[in-house]
Symmetry: D2
Subunit: 283 residues, 4 copies
């Protein structure tokens, strides 16, 4: 049975929740979940509302038109999803395989509500893993010189496979502005530090050098500013002087897997709203 | 400015959220927060909805009558609170003072939305602390023999001070069934273990003896079954073989303070619904 | 380069640390790590000391004889390990594969200092995973009737493969007393609860029913008392009323992987001493 | 009964642990704890060794002379402490009182092994708290203009009270280079962020603005570079979009109390060695 999920944001005003609830009720939708949040500084209302479609009297195609007057009146930004439209996720990965394996095993375990139509890597060695999980693999070598050409081919592949979400599962290449623009708030990266600490390359070495007592990992949407996109999820783990740089990397791998998975899970469940380079997460 | 908070539970049915939202909207209430949860096993809907009272066209006194048809139709259990009715909390405490100090300091720091009209203790030594914070103190010594008499006096005091919530801040006396019945889901206890492990007396010694690697604390509503009431909040902290029993107690004190405070905070904000000896917490 | 690791316990007495250090120094061993702990209740000293073997003037074969007078004098329980003797680990697993995959991937990533000569399962479906990681697989179906016969064959296999450590990676069969006796403090189990809470079967269902706000996982050495062996490692994760029983199981899987890995890692590094059904861990 | 604690660091060399152990054993000291660490990059050995003084045949006054040959031979940096020399701690505080109360209550509860001979504040309002805990209070107002003069008086007070350790319990004044130099690795600050993220003023506002999902607190030794001294302890707590800036501050207060207390506790137990702007902590 399918449900609809409406994500919206708009200036806070009296009656929004009631009007939206009413719209659904009048057309015989049964509300399954509803959550809202008002940002007290900007006076913006954020809302996520989910209802059963089985007896809903408006067809999917007509919802937009029917909702338009309400949306216009309240100046809403809104998007609608249907739970039987399984999201299609492409995984980009370089040589580190722990996040890739983690996602594929969770997918195999039916923990992730998505299809993974392809894996793209600049390392040919990943093909074997893709094969084991029976997922199409595309080798896409990259250098500063061929970047734009390579990305063009990748964009074609993504289109062909109807991909809507990209996961950078420790992908060590920086995507071009143009590429990022095409997947706004749809590319999820895992950065191996507790952002905004240790931006850039080799954050574990930076953390080791500074002598911190806790390390972290951060999953965020990719924007055209490196490691500065809206943060979706973070987690931390304790370290001590006994931990070598290698221990940091090892402990960090566990964090990265858990944080990336959590961020992707929320994204796939349409629980994330982005505003002001921050995220509202209705978990 | 005051808001109303409606807490309700009822068998799940189509239209409840819309009907409630509409009821509020029609009488010019602006919904500030709304949260609901459906227990997938029992098909019970839980809801907490908060709206501004300033332009609401129904007076406080009339809300119940106006809401009745809706409540009857959906077979609701419901309670309503107003945010300008500050809860009145009595603290019961024995000889350990860390939780008491913690609550009083948070109260002084305006972190807890309540009045504390009195402190009751079976230890005269607590009076000095009560005095420092200018809170009336009542010495109520207890033994197996005088328990019922002592509780009678305590109940009178609580009535006199219009107390609606009792916090047992490490109170080492077991309350009688009769006493507990008078404050259903309104007595908050802190138990110094990760329940249901280590029920009963001296849980730190039990934990030390078993050789666990993590200890915990649990805050729960008091029922007539010792340490088995609905759990509101728990937290844990890591220990090692280097920690003596005294270290466990010391680390545990920090846990107890944080867990009890969190439980009380949610209670004061009317965010807790109890069902089936479990809690739904709309945080 | 190889190092020796001496694990010992004995009644605390003046001079033990100095005498042991001296013994190593006099024979030209360079101490790389040393850690000790005195249990303040039982007055037992625990010690782990590691030194470089490259210039050590006593051969491996002779260490025991040379150490004997010291060991006798201080009434030591002791064992010695050499870091170039890679431990040999057999994995027992039933139908849940998350812990198995986790161990095999960490092993492939060189995080675990051990050889895995075989995987034994009562589920034929595990063979495919074993094959992917190129590890010999043995199908050993079990019922109440064939248990002793099956265990006999398993014990032969373990002997043949020179196995010294067994990991029960979610193995849903109870080992016989006789089997357990043969691998004292060498069988590591993962139990999917925060022991001693929720002993026995289906701990997640027990936790869900009790309404706890945190769930846990526990790794322990197997003894002949179910779920009561010495605890090596525990960890916890927060849950809420929104988590279904399936969510508990999913969140628990992450815990189980991390806890089991940590316990095995310490075991392989000879950092665990068992005393009084508790563990001393020199991490 | 008193014990001696020797803290040392030196280039790693064969025989150090044995020679030191031997020195203690030969003079009839019973080793109670010993811990060491070798930094694998710099090849520096760090050691903390504690022994009972009751039958030790060298007097306190003579230990330095007796130890000198050994110390010279191994090029040791070393310091010695005696557990019956209770450290003397001055608390500096501005208007926020949560850390101050926390330290004073722990001290009253015998959790902190120190004397607190005085509290210094640039806020007269702190006097009342100092009085309640019967600790001498000094009001020392500060501005950019009077800073040096004020510090001179403070230094005199510290000398007069034989203070060896200073805790900045949310002290909102920056100490001069000269002041800091006089208390090298003896001034403990609490910074209300997860350093190195959010250095400088109003870190909670910075964290709120960046949209992080976890906030932290850091305790470190004060050096002449603001918020860049050796980190002693850090901790973190989860936040969400629902948390206002005030909620961050409130949650942060709990972190600050716990982190500062832990850092001070280790310092008082002489468990911290500083090297390369990092700390080795033998906990």
């Amino acid at each position: 049975m399918s449900s609809a999920i409406l994500l919206l944001s708009c200036p806070d005003q009296k009656g929004i929740v009631a009007q939206i609830s009413n719209f659904i009720f009048e057309h015989r939708g049964n509300i399954e979940h509803a959550d809202q949040h008002i940002d007290s500084q900007s006076k913006i209302l954020f809302m996520r509302i989910q209802w059963a479609m089985d007896k809903f009297t408006v067809s999917r195609e007509d919802i937009s038109a029917k909702l338009k007057p309400l949306a216009d009146r309240f100046k809403m930004n809104w998007r609608i999803f249907f739970t039987d439209n399984t999201p299609r996720v492409a995984i980009f990965v370089s040589s580190y395989t722990h996040c890739l394996y983690d996602l594929l095993l969770r997918h195999q375990d039916k923990q992730l509500h998505c299809t993974i139509p392809l894996i793209i890597s600049n390392h040919e060695s990943i093909r074997e893993i893709a094969n084991y999980f029976s997922i199409p693999f595309y080798f896409s070598p990259k250098s500063d010189k061929n970047k734009i050409t390579a990305e063009k081919k990748e964009l074609l592949l993504l289109k062909e496979h109807h991909v809507d979400t990209i996961v950078l599962a420790r992908y060590m290449q920086i995507l071009s502005k143009n590429f990022v623009k095409k997947f706004k708030n749809s590319i999820i990266n895992i950065h191996h530090s507790f952002l905004p600490a240790f931006i850039g390359s080799d954050p574990y070495a930076q953390a080791y050098c500074r002598g911190v007592k806790i390390i972290g990992a951060t999953s965020h949407y990719v924007t055209d500013r490196l490691d500065e996109g809206p943060i979706i999820e973070q987690n931390t783990v304790r370290i001590s002087h006994r931990d070598s740089l290698n221990d940091l990397k090892r402990k960090g791998k566990d964090l990265e897997r858990i944080v990336l998975n959590q961020a992707l899970r929320w994204h796939l469940e349409h629980k994330i709203l982005v505003y002001n380079n921050k995220t509202v997460i209705f978990d």
